[in-house]
Symmetry: C2
Subunit: 352 residues, 2 copies
C-alpha cells in the first residue's frame, strides 16, 4: 500500500510526540512493506507566528493532497491573549469544518499497568472499554447566529436530520465491531434538538436489530461515567455534550496521557491526534509521553487505511512496553526509572 | 420568627422524604421557638394526574403566599411517554422560571463515614468541599428560538449582561463566606456567550479583591472534578454546563443520596429540594434516605430565613447519625443493620 500522510506537529510537545509517531509509522512501513509519504505543515500557534493564520492555505492544500493527517497539539500561553481569529484552537475548528470531519472517535480503555494513576478505585476503573463518538462539525460550537453586543450574546445549537443520521449510523457501525451496545446521550427532556436526535436514533436503529440501544440524559451520563464506567460500550452524542463527556471519560482510567483520537469523514479521510494538550511547560525537554501520538497512528492505520493487523501490532507493542514497566515521567511510580520520549519510543520500536 | 412554608411532595419517594423533613422542621420550631406554617401542594406527576398540569395555578398561588418552598421529587415511568407539556419535569422548569429562581446552589462535601461508597479513591475524595452555583433560569434551557421541523431543530443559548451579573455576584458573595475562591466555568474559546460571561466576571471581580478568581474551560473542569475535586471552592457557571457538572460532582464523594439543593432569587425566597430523583422503584416502601430532604430544610433555614444556628444544628445532627454508623439501605455496608426512613429520621430528631 502507498499513502500520503500530512504531519502537522503544531505547538508545545507536538513536534516531539509526532516525531516519535512518525518513527513508528516508518517501522510499520518496513515490516509490512508499505510506503508512507510523509510531508510536514504548520497549524496553530506556529502557523500564526509564520502566516498570521492558525490554518494557512498551504496547510489546507497539503492535507487535501494527503490520505490522512497526523496532528500533534496546538496552543500555549504565547497566543492566549490573541483575538479570537488568531487563536491556535481556531486552526483545529477550521480544519475539522473544512474537511467535514464529522465523527470524532475517542476510545477509553483501562490499561492494567496504568490503573495506579487512576483517581477511581481500581475495581471501578479496571473493566472500562468504551468508544465515545462525538459529533464534531455541527451543534452548539458551529451554529448560527453566534454573536454578541455589549449587553447580550447568543450561540445556537442547530442540527439537521442528515447531520444526526450520519453520526448515529457511524456509531451503530462501530458498535457492530465491538460489544454491540450504543448509549445515545441527549437532553430530550428540555432541548428540541435532542428530541430530533432521539427520533433519528429510534428510526436508524431499525436497520440494526443486533445493536442494543439506550437513551440517556447528559446529566445522568456524567454521573454514570464515574459510578459505573465499565457499563458503556459505544456512546454517541452532540458536539458540546461530547466535548465535556469525552474529556470527563479521559481521566477515569488514569491514562489520559496515552489516549488517541480520530476525526473522520465518510470516505475514510481523517485527522488523528493525541487527546492531551500541548503541555508547554515540558516542551522541548524530551520528557513528553509519545504513547497517545503513537496510538493515533494506529487509529490512522485502522480507520483511514483499513490496516487492522498493522494497527493491532502497534497497540500490542505499546501495551507490552507498559506491562514491562517502562514509563515516561507522567506515569512513572515513585522510585522507578523515568524514560525519555526517545527511549520509550525505542522500546516500542524494539517490540515491533 | 414566623414563616410560611409550602411543601410540594411530588412523586415517587418525594412524599416520604418531605414528611421526614417536615418533622425535623417542627422539631427546630419547638427547640428554637419559631412558628412554621406548613401547607401542601401538588407538582409533577401527581399534579398532571389531578389537574392535567405539572404546575397548577393553585400550587403557584400557594407558593406565592409562602416564604419558601420545600420540594420532594418529580417524575416516574407513568408519565415518561407524555407529550412534552405534560411531563413532570416541566413543572420544575416552570416553577423556577415563574419565581425567577436564578441561582441554583449545589453543595458537595465529603462525609468521612460515607467515603466507602465513593467511586473515587479515598485520598482523592476526602477533602472535597465545594459549592456549585448554577445559573438556573437562562441559557440553553430557556433561550428562544427553541423549535423543530421534521428535518431540523434549533435551541438557543442566550444571555444578557444582567443575567450573568447577578449570578456572578451571588457566587462572589458565597465565596466570601467560604474559602474565598471562585472558578468561573465557560467555553470562551468557542462560544460568544462565554466571552460575555468571562468579561462580566472580570468586571465584577474588581469589587471583590479578596476573592481569588480563576477562569476554566468546561471540558477541563469535567476532568479536574475527578482528578482533583478538593481544589474547588465555589464554581459558577451557565445553566447547561451547571446541570452536567453539578451532577458529575454529586457522585464523587459517594453521598449523592444525601445532597440538598437550593434555588433562590435575590430577595431570599427559595425552593429547596434533594438532588436525588423520585426513585419510583422503592417508593412507598419506607426505605428512602431522607437525609437530602432534611439537609434541604437546613439550606432553607440558612438561605431564606437567615437562621444559621438552626441550619447548623440540623447539619451536625445528620453528621452525628452517620458517624454513629446509622444508615438507610442505600448507604449501608454489607452485614450492617438497615434503618427505615422513619427510624433514621428519629435518630436525627433524637440528636436535635
Ligand atoms: C480547542 C477546542 C475548540 C476543542 C473543542 O472543544 O472541540 C477541544 O477542546 C477538543 O475537544 O478537541
Ligand atoms: C429535570 C431537568 C429539567 C432538570 C434540569 O436539567 O434542570 C434536572 O436535571 C435538574 O438538574 O434539576
Amino acid at each position: 500500500m502507498e499513502k500520503k500522510v500530512a504531519v502537522l506537529p503544531g505547538d508545545g510537545i507536538g513536534p516531539e510526540v509526532t516525531e516519535a509517531a512518525v518513527k513508528v509509522l516508518e517501522v510499520i512501513a518496513r515490516r509490512f512493506s508499505h510506503t508512507f509519504h510523509v510531508e510536514y505543515g504548520v497549524i496553530g500557534g506556529v502557523a500564526i507566528d509564520k502566516h498570521q493564520n492558525p490554518l494557512p492555505d498551504e496547510t489546507v492544500a497539503l492535507c487535501e493532497a494527503s490520505d490522512a493527517v497526523l496532528l500533534g497539539a496546538v496552543g500555549g500561553p504565547k497566543w492566549d491573549q490573541n483575538p479570537s481569529a488568531l487563536r491556535p484552537e481556531k486552526g483545529l475548528l477550521a480544519i475539522r469544518k473544512h474537511f467535514d470531519l464529522f465523527a470524532n472517535l475517542r476510545p477509553v480503555k483501562a490499561v492494567p499497568s496504568l490503573l495506579h494513576a487512576s483517581p477511581l478505585k481500581e475495581e471501578v476503573a479496571k473493566d472500562v472499554d468504551m468508544m465515545i463518538v462525538r459529533e464534531l462539525t455541527g451543534g452548539l460550537y458551529f451554529g448560527e447566529p453566534s454573536r454578541r453586543t455589549a449587553d447580550a450574546a447568543v450561540d445556537s445549537l442547530v442540527y439537521t436530520r442528515e447531520e444526526i443520521e450520519r453520526i448515529v449510523v457511524k456509531a451503530f457501525e462501530i458498535a457492530r465491531l465491538r460489544r454491540g451496545k450504543v448509549a445515545s446521550v441527549d437532553k430530550a427532556n428540555v432541548l428540541e434538538t435532542s428530541k430530533l436526535w432521539r427520533e433519528v436514533v429510534e428510526e436508524k436503529k431499525k436497520a440494526y436489530p443486533d445493536i442494543e440501544v439506550e437513551h440517556m440524559l447528559v446529566d445522568s451520563t456524567a454521573m454514570k461515567l464515574i459510578t459505573n464506567p465499565a457499563a458503556f460500550d459505544v456512546v454517541v452524542t452532540e458536539n458540546m455534550f461530547g466535548d465535556i463527556l469525552s474529556d470527563e471519560a479521559s481521566v477515569i482510567t488514569g491514562s489520559l496521557g496515552v489516549l488517541p483520537s480520530a476525526s473522520i469523514r465518510s470516505d475514510g479521510f481523517g485527522l488523528y491526534e493525541p487527546v492531551h494538550g500541548s503541555a508547554p511547560e515540558i516542551a522541548g525537554l524530551g520528557l513528553a509521553n509519545p504513547a497517545a501520538a503513537i496510538l493515533s497512528v494506529a487509529m490512522m492505520l485502522k480507520y483511514s487505511f483499513n490496516l487492522d493487523t498493522e494497527a493491532s501490532a502497534i497497540e500490542e507493542a505499546v501495551n507490552t512496553v507498559f506491562e514491562d514497566g517502562f514509563f515516561t515521567a507522567d506515569l512513572v511510580e515513585p522510585g522507578k526509572r523515568v524514560l525519555s520520549t526517545k527511549e520509550w519510543t525505542d522500546k516500542v520500536i524494539d517490540e515491533l
